[in-house]
Symmetry: C2
Subunit: 303 residues, 2 copies
């Protein structure tokens, strides 16, 4: 089992969907990622919060075995995001973003974190992603990166420098098209692969995910849910299941990558069933394995 | 090998996409279906055309072994459809529809056709679909039906009567939601299954297809094409591969249905690579088997 380091955001989210509304609940890319990955391997979280960050939130992560020593409280307020979704749950409309302590976040990895074998650079300023990569004493066995439209528009040069150095990128479909400047998603995935990453994972919301790994495509559908309450965090949870599986197995070959995409899809399918991390906190032993088996049945050609 | 009877439209299509434009080329639901299914089994086509229908079009079908004795020429002009697609190739905009001889089409199955074991009711007035079902002397081993928004809006009562009597329905995703009155596609598929068909196949364009068969879902992605020229006929070609495989194997169990969905996806993936039936007419021996193997690789969990 390999340790898994994640750097990203920890947030207080306010979200409204057609199915309900929550205010200042636990969110953030590194939070969803850590919690999901904690079911697979030892996770070490590096992020910043403000003095107002509720202690129960930190405890929630610690109780799952997440190493939160790198979750530093700084003077000021915790990063806040507010958004809403319409009946088409595929895209969030951001209502408000308050960076707060995230604006001055300069991650400083302690000596013991600089040799972690699996690294996930969750959605955050690509300059910070590069900075963390530079701090590693040894090239990790596998580095993955997630990003979003905000950085593709605003910091594409830094993002491209980061992409050139990672093994895996996870990105949603609209952002993949935007980054590649190419409407055909298959060509877009290939173009992004040509920017550096050996593995490109495109998240497609209700249409599942596709992976281009070493030139070969692999497709997984979304789990056929009759009720989706809140897609917030689905992509980060996906990445948590994906990287968590690879780190746990200490494998990075194509077959492991395929299983990892399914584990990512499994974790994302739970996340969207309730607000914040609620559904994940209710997971019972066997739930993940059961849903993995269900996913296998969804794509198994020999019924 | 079981014979396969299809009733539907034969048309002259005028189509414009961002990648080109064709005028009065061979089209129609029964045409695409027959041509695709002819690679698998003996197809018998029942449809009507006008006196203006070009002889080379009939010959194209006959040369593939399609039994065109039921393709009757009536006084008047052949059915014409004109449509265009934007860069989002998922939905056609109909520019013009001239029913012509299709307006008075009353299919009369000869005695030898009334005992065909596999029957496909291609997209056409549901009253005609019901009429053909009534003419069968024996209940076919498998009956499938395709429909579209025009009939869901205009003839839903007749359509529901037809649905209650068929084994399989093929329908696209927007139309499935419309027919079920349900935005969640998974619930919509279940609701349509409750209307009668044991098997519901939902075609999702660039997102592939899903099948609900005997309560279990199966998903197939679209083939990862870098260039899609014209989606016209993709759904009918899908149905041709699907029903062609089942008729050829004389099997209607769940495992055969899954393979059939893949064969349908294979045939549709060829159709969209050029206008009209052009790509299908260029198929070489082995092309179908090769692409089937590629599809298998796209969803194979053990890489």
């Amino acid at each position: 089992m390999g340790d898994l380091l994640v750097i990203g955001s920890v947030a207080l989210d306010s979200v409204e969907t057609p199915f309900g509304k929550v205010r200042e609940v636990l969110g953030g890319s590194a939070t969803y990622f850590s919690y999901a990955a904690s079911f697979f391997t030892q996770v070490r979280l590096v992020a910043t919060v403000g003095e107002d960050f509720p202690e129960p939130h930190r405890r929630l992560l610690a109780d799952r075995g997440v190493d939160t020593r790198g979750l530093r409280a700084s003077q000021g307020k915790t990063f806040r995001w507010a958004g809403e979704y319409g009946f088409d749950l595929n895209e969030a409309r951001t209502l408000d973003t308050q960076l707060n302590v995230l604006a001055d976040f300069r991650p400083d990895l302690g000596e013991d974190l600089r040799r972690t074998p699996f690294l996930f650079l969750a959605n955050i300023d690509p300059e910070l992603q590069l900075d963390v990569l530079r701090q590693m004493k040894e090239r990790p066995r596998l580095v993955a990166l997630d990003t979003m439209n905000f950085w593709i528009r605003g910091k594409q040069a830094a993002l491209r420098r980061a992409l050139a150095e990672v093994d895996v990128v996870t990105i949603n479909d609209a952002e993949a098209r935007q980054l590649a400047g190419e409407p055909n998603l298959i060509r877009a995935a290939r173009a992004i692969g040509a920017m550096g990453p050996r593995v490109v994972v495109v998240k497609r919301g209700e249409y599942g995910a596709l992976m281009l790994a070493d030139g070969a495509f692999f497709f997984v559908p979304a789990y056929p849910l009759e009720s989706v309450y809140d897609p917030t965090g689905a992509g980060d949870t996906f990445a948590g299941g994906f990287m968590g599986h690879l780190a746990a197995q200490e494998r990075v070959d194509a077959a492991a990558m395929r299983r990892a995409v399914v584990y990512g899809s499994v974790m994302a399918s739970f996340t969207v069933e309730d607000f914040s991390l609620r559904r994940l906190t209710r997971l019972k032993p066997g739930d993940i394995a059961d849903r993995y088996a269900s996913f296998h049945d969804l794509i198994r050609l020999e019924a």
